[in-house]
Amino acid sequence: MTAPLDTAPLDDAPAVAAAEPQIAGRSLGQIAWGRLRRDKVALVGAGMIIFFVLVAIFAPLLCAIFDVDPETNYTDQLDDLGFPDGPWANASWDHPFGVEPGLGRDIFARTVYGARYSLTIALLATVLTVGLGVVAGIIAGFRGGWMDTLISRSMDILLAFPVLLFSIAALVIVGQAQWYKESVLYQILFMTFVIGFFGWPYIGRIIRGQVLSLREKEFVDAARSLGASTNRILFKELLPNLLPIILVYSTLIIPTNILAEAALSFLGVGLQPPTPTWGQMLSDSRASLQLVPSYVAVPGMAIFLCVLAFNLFGDGLRDAFDPKGTQ
């Protein structure tokens, strides 16, 4: 057993010397990318995300293939009592997931279109949350003084809000207006605002903490002594160092927002019917839980898998950027 131990360093020595030029200079981004590529679980998550995005983009095409429409009532699929005329919500090649009890709309078409609204709102809300959080965090951390006090206190107050209760209330009040009821675009924008707005203190606090420690670092002093403007320090010196955190938290905020959109829709204050959303389908399916359980399963699994996909990928991304992680 001693022989290999003795010879091993000798064998490796030339190899290390030859590889030396490659060792130098890998950025955090490159290291993270290298780790991510080897993280199978994260790649599965990424694959699932791509799948859901493609489904959302090509929803009309998918519906055209099966010749179904999310708002048509396929009453011929229902029995006399208004229930699907067969097991599994009367699933068939014509209606892959069957039809919903009552109105007889195609569950597949509604689920596929639901992906569009769910992802659109979740992504837009994430942009809003992260945008507000990053700007507020940087100002609070970098400026300090009364600005920091003001922003930090606002964050404390927002964190004490019963957010879900408040979002529902705001949506109900706006929901009374005729212009809101008639426009899907306004509904999407307002949902985005309600979901996105209350989330910013969480990321704002993290960014503030990071900026507080970063601004004392030597490279910021160096930039300042070279005569760099505040803007240059903020955007060229600080922001690149914040990007990994922003990226990781954005990926982890998306699933939270998907769940928030689904929850508000489940409570009936999300996008208004006939616009299909997963939460609303789940809420509708409760009434026929006993007789058509598969109607509960389809939108429920859609929410679950979509959220899981982002969580898998977000976890992988966080590990990849973790400075304490092994390379």
């Binding site: 107050i157 004490a160 109900v172 009374q176 929850a263 489940f266 789940l282």
Partner: protein
């Protein structure tokens, strides 16, 4: 310590005050935009405009908003009396008066007091379940890092945080209540003091649904904290001192790993006590969450105001309690 608590309590009063202010103006201005009035709830369908105006006047709804808000705040401390002008129309609302629900025909505080035990039962039961489950799975996972047990536990935990509580709830309801096996009766809430068995039966599925979500979160968190702590220098010192693994874990690692959990647990419980809206809705539990969405649905402003303020109060108080406890448990933290 005493000064710290007093200062924090004063801060809490400010926060709750601002929450109440925002809620009040949202609901006072909101109906004006959409053209409805709380008075409609009192007079019923299709009233004459004169009657609505008279009701608004007698309940002070025609007053400037600032005056209305001041009256509301005064009512919380001193109580109020509402009157619609007729001898039968006098409504007493003793302190703390969070307003009077025109729909339920009862003071809001009475409604909140009646519903709170339901939410309390739900939150406390679920909390016990998720603490035991989440912490033990998290610790076990960290100690067996990389093994099949760890991987399986973490996959289940990741699924747990990705499942919306209302979907888990519907699955549980199907499997145990409405599906082929009728294991439990459909949930109808009964107070613990009245019928403990029915109380337990109506809550058990809700506890499991809610606890599954939180247990998953806590297991992930505990595992991460444990692994962080186990790689600290003082753990290595303890091991090299010759302490047994059991002693190192129980005396040194657990304490440091679990203190951050106290913070999160306090905040989660505080938020839940203000009403677990989704869980209460799925399992038809008549708690604060159910009361509030019902009130929002019916535009019952006083009830929404009351529940929002109480919910904010729970969150803020939980924050303070957690910070004080943290100072006690973690000797590195000194409150000042």
């Amino acid at each position: 310590m005493f000064r710290y608590i007093v200062r924090r309590l004063l801060g809490a009063v400010v926060v709750v005050f601002i929450v109440s202010l925002v809620t009040f103006f949202l609901f006072a201005i909101g109906p004006k935009i959409t053209g409805s009035s709380p008075a409609y709830l009192y007079v019923g369908k299709n009233p004459t405009p004169e009657l609505v105006a008279a009701i608004e006047k007698s309940f002070g709804l025609d007053q400037p908003l600032v005056k209305q808000y001041a009256d509301y705040m005064k009512g919380i401390v001193a109580g109020r009396t509402f009157s619609d002008g007729t001898p039968d129309g006098v409504r007493e609302c003793p302190a703390p008066c969070f307003g009077y629900s025109f729909r339920y025909k009862e003071p809001v505080w009475t409604l909140i007091k009646d519903r709170f035990p339901v939410t309390l039962s739900l939150a406390v039961g679920a909390a016990i379940l998720w603490l035991v489950l989440g912490l033990s799975v998290g610790i076990l996972s960290a100690l067996k890092k990389g093994t099949v047990v760890d991987r399986a536990a973490m996959i289940i935990a990741l699924a747990g945080v990705s499942l919306p509580v209302y979907f888990t709830g519907l699955i549980l309801l199907y499997v145990f209540v409405y599906g082929p096996i009728r294991f439990l009766p459909p949930p109808t809430y009964k107070p613990l003091t009245e019928n403990p068995v029915a109380w337990f039966q109506s809550l058990i599925l809700a506890w499991i649904a809610l606890a599954f979500l939180y247990a998953a979160l806590y297991a992930r968190l505990t595992r991460a904290n444990m692994l962080d702590t186990m790689s600290e220098d003082y753990i290595r010192t303890a091991v090299s001192k010759g302490l047994t693994r059991r002693k190192v874990i129980s005396k040194h690692a657990l304490r440091a790993a679990l203190t951050p959990i106290i913070t999160i647990f306090g905040l989660d419980l505080g938020a839940l006590l203000g009403g677990a809206i989704l869980t209460e809705k799925v399992f038809s539990l008549p708690g604060l969450g159910y009361l509030s969405i019902d009130a929002i649905d019916k535009q019952d402003l006083p009830v929404i105001m009351g529940v929002t303020i109480v919910a904010a109060l729970f969150i803020v108080l939980a924050n303070i309690i957690v910070d004080v406890l943290y100072g006690v448990v973690d000797p590195r933290v000194r409150l000042s």
